[in-house]
């Protein structure tokens, strides 16, 4: 028996499994999209509408509104936000070299939230021309800036000489989250009634506010951020060996880190801005994928985008049918599904935080 012949095919297996997963997940995403359009509080179903369209019957006003103005933008938003959260989780974990680094856990989400709250409360004080210029983009953009600032700060604090201290990162994340929370609290205090109402809508972590205007405002930024993150695969693989080694194998580490931080901040920031805090997608999705097909970031990032979109779309379906006609905040659904997985990671891999 020669070891080379024996193990070479198995070696390819993990990579080809990851590549096969691209297609499997893409198929599953289509199914999730169909499910999301099929079910809801009303008895409008996609299959009925398709049958109607085939027969050439006109759709009723309600049917059109439900399908085109409610379910479709909500589906688009869910897919975008889910992909954004999962990809930024995977990219951030690669950047920090730790599977526990999730934008939500280490304070990036809180920073983005602070940006969004700033925009909601203080946006009114901006000069009119600037407001006219930013329009719908003001809140997502402010959230992006908040996320960006906190990611850079976090990296500065927790990374010395090219290696990241996980304990420092988690502690800095707690401090950052507390600081952002406190500043947000001050803003809430000075907010007037209407702004408070806006904040309440925003903070519930829901896709109920999805609209085409929001999708159009958030979509391009999220797509750009995901696109940039997908380019990082080889660089993040190298970074797994440390910054010095990454440079030795030909990666422009500084540039790669800047791109990763920008992409994470943009994806997280915009996702937070349009949907409030939705937790655990960023940590659960990459972890499951690493178990299934290995940690190679060249395939992991794309798979994370697909699985993140699938999970959030399905979580949203759950959120809007279990207590219909009311609905659960989707953050509750993802937390119920995600928190146990997070604990399981901690239980089965105790060495993570110390290493």
């Amino acid at each position: 028996m020669t070891a080379i012949v024996d193990s070479a095919p198995r070696t390819r297996d993990r990579l080809s499994r990851a590549r096969a997963l691209h297609w499997i997940l893409a198929g599953a995403l289509l199914l999730a999209c169909a499910a999301s359009l099929q079910v809801g509080a009303t008895n409008v179903t996609l299959t009925d509408l398709l049958a109607k369209a085939m027969r050439g019957d006109a759709l009723s006003q309600i049917e059109r509104v439900v399908l085109l103005d409610i379910r479709l933008p909500r589906l688009a938003m869910g897919g975008l936000v889910g992909a954004a959260l999962a990809v930024s989780g995977a990219a951030m974990q690669g950047l920090f070299r730790n599977p526990l680094a999730d934008p939500g856990i280490v304070g990036v989400g809180a920073g983005a939230g602070l940006g969004a709250i700033l925009a909601i409360v203080l946006g009114a004080f901006l000069p009119a021309w600037l407001l006219g210029l930013t329009g719908n983009y003001l809140t997502p953009f402010a959230a992006f800036l908040g996320g960006w600032g906190s990611t850079i700060l976090l990296y500065r604090v927790s990374t010395r000489h090219g290696s990241t201290s996980v304990a420092t990162m988690l502690l800095a994340g707690i401090a950052l989250g507390a600081l952002a929370g406190a500043l947000s609290g001050i803003l809430v205090y000075i907010a007037d009634d209407r702004q408070l109402r806006d904040l309440t809508f925003w903070g519930l972590g829901s896709l109920a506010g999805a609209s085409w205007a929001k999708v159009l405002a958030a979509g391009p930024m999220i797509a750009l951020a995901i696109g940039a993150a997908l380019m990082l695969g080889r660089g993040l693989n190298g970074l797994a060996l440390g910054e010095a080694t990454a440079a030795h194998i030909g990666i422009d580490v500084q540039r790669m880190k800047s791109v990763a931080i920008l992409a994470v901040a943009a994806a997280t920031g915009v996702a937070v801005a349009v949907s409030g805090g939705i937790g655990f997608i960023g940590i659960v999705v990459p972890h499951l994928l690493r178990l299934a097909s290995g940690p190679d970031h060249r395939t992991l990032l794309l798979n994370a985008a697909l699985l993140g979109a699938i999970l959030l779309i399905l979580a949203d379906v759950i959120a809007r049918v279990v207590v219909a006609p009311a609905e659960l905040p989707i953050g509750i659904v993802t937390a119920v599904l995600g928190a146990p997985v997070f604990l399981w990671i901690l239980l089965t891999r105790r060495g993570l935080v110390e290493s």
């Binding site: 009303t42 008895n43 009311a326």
Partner: protein
């Protein structure tokens, strides 16, 4: 005073029964009512049978709780709202999120927002708006006159000489030892004044977390809280001990005399047909303790 309150309640009940009987029962149930006061008004106008669904804050009268619940009025799901197939939506001010309301308005139905105001006139205007929307303006006018007289009566009875007015601290919650109290401009503030009291906190507007020392400075004679159980006979002894043991409250006159009033939140804060009753009850609770 208690006798008066009971009398009015009895009258209102009789009147409701009569109007309900005369109302045309043939109309379809196609109204979604959102907001506690709005729903109370619909039922009081004898239109309860037209209700198709309600929001989470609509819990009075008790029979409306059997209706499907579309959730919290400020976090609506547009499809959830449309799924109950309302032809008319009556909504209190501030329903949201705005995007959801835009979509709901785009669907083929009537959406009427009922203006909110924390005054007797505000309540009357709510009644008239709801009556117009439901196509029963005469009934609304009658009810409005009735409610107005009742309110005027209740407020006149409740009036106190300035010097004898009690200082009332409305506590929204004491979660985690932090006291969230009402400042000015709130429903609680308005009701306290209508019931012949003085809001102990006037330094800020809205419901906010208040520091322990500010509670001391406010020197409330009475603490007013929401009774979440909604029952009068619940034993609050333990809760009272806990409340008066809080450092902020321990030194206030209210704690010395162990004065705490608990009332149903919807009754107190919704500013609807039962506000006169709320005024009477609060007034009675405030000033009956003297003797």
């Amino acid at each position: 005073m208690m006798r008066g309150a009971k009398g009015v309640a009895a009258c209102a009940g009789l009147w409701m029964a009569v109007t309900a009987a005369t109302a045309g029962a043939q109309q379809a149930a196609d109204v979604l009512s959102m907001g506690g006061a709005v729903t109370e008004i619909v039922v009081a106008l004898g239109q309860g049978h037209r209700l198709r669904a309600r929001d989470a804050t609509s819990t009075w009268p008790p029979e409306v709780t059997d209706l499907p619940d579309v959730g919290y009025v400020r976090a609506l799901s547009p499809e959830g709202v449309l799924s109950v197939e309302p032809a008319l939506i009556l909504s209190e001010e501030g329903a949201g999120p705005p995007e959801a309301i835009d979509v709901i308005r785009a669907a083929d139905l009537d959406f009427v927002e009922i203006p909110d105001a924390l005054t007797a006139d505000g309540i009357l205007r709510k009644i008239e708006t709801v009556g117009d929307a439901l196509g029963v303006p005469d009934r609304a006018a009658a009810m409005s006159a009735e409610v107005e007289a009742d309110l005027v009566d209740a407020m006149a009875d409740a009036a106190q000489p300035e010097a004898e007015k009690k200082r009332v601290l409305f506590v929204l919650s004491t979660q985690g030892g932090k006291i969230n109290a009402s400042g000015t401009g709130t429903a609680a503030d308005a009701l306290i004044r209508m019931a012949g009291g003085v809001n102990a906190v006037t330094e800020y507007a809205g419901y906010k977390q208040i520091t322990d020392e500010a509670v001391g400075l406010a020197a409330p004679d009475v603490i007013l809280m929401m009774d979440r159980a909604g029952a009068d006979d619940t034993d609050h002894g333990g809760a009272d001990d806990e409340l008066f043991a809080m450092p902020a409250i321990r030194l206030t006159p209210a704690a010395q005399s162990r004065s705490v009033i608990r009332m149903d939140g919807l009754l107190m804060l919704s500013f609807g047909p039962r506000t006169a009753e709320a005024i009477r009850r609060l007034n009675a609770a405030l000033y009956a303790q003297e003797s």
